[in-house]
């Protein structure tokens, strides 16, 4: 699972049937220092995350399995809202 920050939501009226009812979030992937890593992506959501939330997300087939109906399409899903990251390496 990779760290990310929810930076927005995306509204689409016209979309594939499988996406009905799925909230689409704009997520900026982060590295372990919470710095942006790579480009923003669009993710489905199973934890009601919102803009500003620090989250972690899963990609690939696991992103689709995480959805209620796991035959739905997704290649990125927000899996958790992070309360805290406890670093124990002096930083």
């Amino acid at each position: 699972m990779n760290f990310g920050r929810v930076t927005g939501t995306i509204v689409c009226s016209q979309k594939l049937e499988g996406f009905d009812g799925e909230k689409l979030l704009l997520v900026q992937p982060l590295d372990e220092n919470m710095q942006p890593k790579g480009r923003e992506l669009v993710a489905t959501d199973v934890v009601q995350a919102g803009p500003g939330d620090l989250v972690f997300f899963e990609t690939g087939r696991e992103a689709a399995i995480a959805l209620e109906n796991h035959w739905n399409v997704s290649d990125a899903t927000v899996m958790a809202i992070i309360d805290a990251v406890n670093r124990e390496d002096g930083r």
Binding site: E32, V46, T59, E62, A64, A80, I81, I82, V85, N86
Partner: protein, 92 residues
């Protein structure tokens, strides 16, 4: 499988049920010499690893589902061993 080092832990109250009962650890990938080789990520602990431990992890869904013994688990990065020692032959 890849090599990583545990750098800390991640706490999340609102999360997918698959993580219930599992520790979530912050892991940084390293090469066989111990140098950082990529960005840190979150993995599910299965070997009671702690900060500073070098670990072996799988980053592949079917393997993760087999380790977690759940054919529907939407997880991919799982720790599978704590490294005692890495022996590198001279000349490699």
């Amino acid at each position: 499988m890849k090599i990583g080092v545990v750098k800390g832990s991640v706490v999340a109250s609102a999360k997918h049920p698959i993580y219930n009962g599992h520790r979530l650890l912050l892991v940084e990938p390293i090469d066989h010499l111990g140098n950082k080789s990529g960005a840190g990520f979150v993995a599910i602990d299965q070997v009671q690893a702690g900060p500073g431990d070098k670990v072996i992890y799988v980053d592949e869904g079917n393997s993760a589902r087999t380790v977690l013994n759940d054919p529907k688990a939407p997880a991919r990065a799982v720790l599978i061993a704590i490294v005692d020692r890495i022996n590198v032959e001279a000349g490699s």
